[in-house]
């Protein structure tokens, strides 16, 4: 509960369909908080009309490179002269590719990068529009589940603990309502820890096992989807925090829960939600690649116009007090939590 | 405006409309079209004058000039001594396919020219003319629900409602079937006799002219002028089979240079 309202703050999730729409809303002042690609956040901090700051990480890893199942490619070197689809010019996937090119001594002409909408990447691979694609989940898992794709690399194979999405907030929000930002960041830290290391036998508020009686006030969903309706989970789905997260994700992502279950469990370290604190070295390295790839072409980083960690990150909110999540023992859970 | 009605049939005294030396040319892409060439014509008050001539000879153009819809290129047209410059509710024009408004009911159409009036007075006035043309009971109907003849009656009622001095009739029965045409001719003569308006009828149907008019002006081919004006002193109601009727008809056809027998 924040100081301003006894009823607590409503953090309303708002789903966008593409990055440009989100960046435009951030620059236009219609949006003050967003999970966004790390390099894109740095570009906004550097060249955006409305200053933003990275206040926390969204998650680590969670990106894979996928090739056709029956294709001969076993390492990145095999992809010399081939086409690779990426989601966005300023995406972290492009930074990962840059590192792979460095490790394998590729120069720019050795591989062709194609900007491609993530949801169409599996179909694009199947249709042979490119030999590999690198994207965040669940679009990598889809090709795998559908049986025509094979994961060539998980992020951990290329760049362990790689930052992919970050939480940015506008400077205006930081100045106007810092305690809101504080509550948001500590909430995200707590839920991250719950997903990765939470108790296996406790259900988070709002989630009920099939057949359990659901208290009346939980039933209706508010118009803008802030207070989630009570979610009933099939008993055989598994009740580990990751499985509960898959159920919650289904509501907010609108994606099939079993797809999210797959992404969050096979293998478990496919995407990480802990250790989300900002650290200087991670960003410095990403910035090095970003500068080399000309992400800051509009306002190049020079000696007398420097661009450092403090210009795009604000660590104050990570040091705030931790927050505890409303958990309750899963009554009659019986079902053994899957490992 | 006195309601003194000269006895029907007797030639009235005063000149109502004088047309002197009127020319009319139309600019077209292919150069000027000379339609009227020195037309002279006088219409006496309360008279029923018919203007006859081959189609395309410019009789409608003359009527439009007299009504003020068109400006004469040369010469002058005067009504009650005043030059005609634009249309006036005192001189109402009745079109071939009726000019009544399909989006208004009969009542609204007939009352169109009356402007701001208290409702009772307007209703009484409108109903008077609806009864005059025999359309009582149809005041709420819309033109699309009426027959050709009934629509023509509405147009007459609308024209008469503003109590004009002059009625211009441009082949008003052209779009009607033969039976309705005869009925409407008798109707217009009855109204003319009852209201004493000055009527000017343009038609290419010589019989129609002779059945209705006191005098018939015969127009030449284009560029047209008035060839001659015949007095039609036949008693009403007129029968087109009477020998004098047929003689005048032959005369007019002769003047027009058109062989009558088929």
């Amino acid at each position: 509960m924040t100081e301003h309202s006894d009823a607590g703050t409503v953090f309303a999730s708002k789903r966008y369909t593409n990055w440009p729409a989100m960046t435009e809303d951030l620059q236009a002042g219609n949006l003050h908080a967003a999970f966004i690609l790390a390099p894109l956040a740095m570009v906004l901090a550097r060249e955006g009309t409305k200053p933003v700051k990275i206040v926390h990480l969204g998650h680590r890893d969670g990106t894979c490179m996928v090739v056709a199942k029956d294709s001969p490619y076993q390492t990145f070197a095999d992809l010399r002269g081939k086409r690779i689809a990426i989601p966005h010019r300023y995406s972290n996937q492009r930074v990962l590719i840059e590192r792979l090119k460095e490790q394998n001594g590729f120069n720019d002409s050795d591989v062709t990068l194609i900007d491609f909408p993530p949801p169409e990447m599996p179909a694009g691979l199947k249709a042979g529009q490119f030999e590999a694609y690198i994207v965040g989940e669940p679009h990598a898992a889809r090709a795998e589940i559908a049986g025509f794709g094979r994961i060539l690399y998980y992020t951990k194979d290329i760049w362990p603990n790689f930052i992919s999405c970050v939480l940015v907030v506008t400077q205006e929000l930081i100045d106007r309502q810092p305690e809101l930002v504080q509550e948001l960041v500590s909430g995200i830290t707590a839920s991250g820890e719950w997903i990765d290391q939470g108790p296996e036998d406790q259900l988070i508020a709002g989630i009920y096992l099939e057949g359990e009686v659901v208290p009346e006030d939980q039933l209706q969903a508010t118009a803008d989807g802030t207070l989630p309706e009570a979610i009933t989970m099939p008993r055989d789905f598994g009740i580990s925090p990751r499985m509960q997260a898959a159920q919650l994700g289904g509501l907010y992502y609108g994606q099939p829960t079993d797809l999210l279950k797959y992404v969050l469990s096979k293998p478990p370290d496919r995407v990480k939600y802990t250790d989300l604190a900002l650290n200087r070295e991670d960003f410095a390295e990403i910035q090095r690649y970003a500068e080399r790839l000309g992400f800051f072409s509009k306002r190049p980083v020079t000696a007398d116009d420097p661009f450092g960690f403090e210009d795009y990150c604000d660590v104050r909110f990570e040091r705030g007090r931790a927050r505890s999540l409303p958990l309750r023992p899963a009554a009659g859970s019986g079902a053994e939590a899957p490992r | 405006m006195s309601e003194a009605m000269p006895e029907p049939g007797k030639t009235p005294r005063r000149d109502k409309i004088t047309v002197e030396g009127v020319d009319k040319t139309f600019p077209t892409k292919k150069g000027e079209v000379h339609v009227l060439d020195g037309v002279n014509l006088t219409v006496r008050e309360g008279e029923f004058l018919a203007i006859v001539g081959p189609s395309g000879c410019g009789k409608s153009t003359l009527l439009n000039c007299m009504a003020g819809f068109e400006r004469a290129s040369g010469g002058s047209i005067q009504v009650d001594g005043e030059e005609v410059t634009r249309p006036d509710p005192k001189r109402v024009f009745v079109f071939q396919e009726t000019g009544i408004f399909p989006w208004y009911s009969v009542w609204d159409n007939v009352g169109f020219g009356l402007g701001q009036m208290p409702f009772e007075a307007k209703d009484e006035h409108v109903m008077k003319y609806i009864r005059l043309v025999g359309l009582e009971g149809f005041e709420r109907s819309f033109p699309s629900e009426l027959s050709g003849g009934m629509k023509q009656r509405v147009e007459f009622a609308r024209a008469l409602a503003v109590e004009p001095d002059v009625l211009f009739l441009d082949e008003p029965f052209g779009a009607l079937d033969a039976f309705t045409r005869i009925e409407m001719r008798r109707e217009i003569v009855r109204i003319w006799e009852k209201t004493g308006k000055t009527c000017i009828l343009v038609t290419h149907d010589v019989s129609e002219a002779l059945e209705l008019a006191d005098r018939v002006a015969i127009m030449t081919r284009r560029p047209a002028t008035v060839h001659s004006v015949l007095d039609v002193d036949m008693p009403r109601p007129r029968d087109s089979d009477d020998p004098p009727f047929r003689e005048m008809k032959d005369l007019i056809f002769q003047v027009l240079g058109v062989e009558r027998r088929v």
Partner: protein, 272 residues
């Protein structure tokens, strides 16, 4: 059709119409046999998706957003387009002044305007009594709908006024009706049928444009629903959204044609 036929009975219309409908559904079912929700879905999957979206409430929010934007864009376009069209139709110099510009801008598809729309309207929300009336995506979408509807309406109105039969104008002049009275009692009513046809056409175009316009830069509306479902690998939701787009578009068109019919009811022209 050399011989004259009796008008189709109500029963015949319904039977043939639904037969056509059933055949289409059957073909659709066969063509998409066995597909799951991440491929082109069959009618049954689409129906289920539709039910889910409806019970979830998101469908109604998106329909409201799309119809809201079409309504405002269309009404603004009519509010400005009709008077301008009448003025252009009535005054020769005015049409010479405006027409070249209008005819040049008309073929530019509203979709091309999206980047400008977002920049122009990307800014603040438009508030009313402390509540958001138009948020950023609302106003840019309304702007696009305005453009999509404005040009057909102006063109239709201009030609409507120019093609008013001379005898009506002369009758009015003959009875001394001029100025505002002439517009209100003769010009507008005479031009109304063609204007209404123009409005119906413009509404159809607007509805096609709104879905495309909502694919970018908005976070609600049926266009957003299609794109968002695609991102979430829910092709059943995409198909469901398309069915809804079709139905709502049909409903709007029927509403418009009813308005047109009732407006022209007693003029004998509506029974086209």
């Amino acid at each position: 059709m050399s011989h004259s036929q009796a008008p189709a009975t109500w029963w015949r219309k319904f039977a043939l119409g639904s037969l056509g409908f059933v055949v289409t559904i059957a073909l659709w079912q066969v063509a998409t046999w066995g597909n799951d929700i991440t491929e082109v879905p069959g009618p049954w999957l689409t129906l289920q998706g539709l039910r889910e979206l409806a019970t979830d409430g998101v469908l109604w929010r998106n329909i409201a957003a799309s119809v809201f934007r079409v309504a405002w864009g269309f009404c603004l376009a009519a509010g400005i387009g009709i008077p301008l069209g009448v003025w252009m139709g009535w005054n020769r110099d005015v049409v010479l002044f405006f027409n070249p510009t209008i005819q040049m801008m008309r073929p530019i598809s509203p979709i091309a305007w999206i980047p400008f729309a977002v920049v122009i309207f990307g800014g603040a929300n438009f508030m009313l009594a402390g509540r958001i009336l138009f948020d950023a995506s609302d106003s840019s979408a309304i702007f696009l709908i305005f453009l999509a509807s404005f040009f057909p309406i102006v063109t239709a109105t201009t030609s409507a006024v120019r093609s008013i039969e001379l005898k009506y104008l002369r009758s009015a002049a003959n009875f001394g009706v001029t100025g505002l009275g002439l517009f209100r009692r003769v010009i507008l009513p005479a031009a109304l049928p063609q204007i209404l046809t123009g409005l119906r056409l413009a509404l159809g175009i607007a509805w096609v444009v709104i879905v495309a316009a909502e694919m970018l830069g908005v976070t609600s509306g049926l266009g957003f629903q299609v794109n968002d479902s695609r991102n979430n690998l829910r092709m059943d939701y995409v198909a469901a959204a398309m069915v809804v787009i079709g139905l709502v578009g049909l409903a709007l068109d029927m509403a418009m044609s009813n308005l047109e019919a009732s407006a022209l009811a007693r003029r004998g022209m509506s029974r086209r």
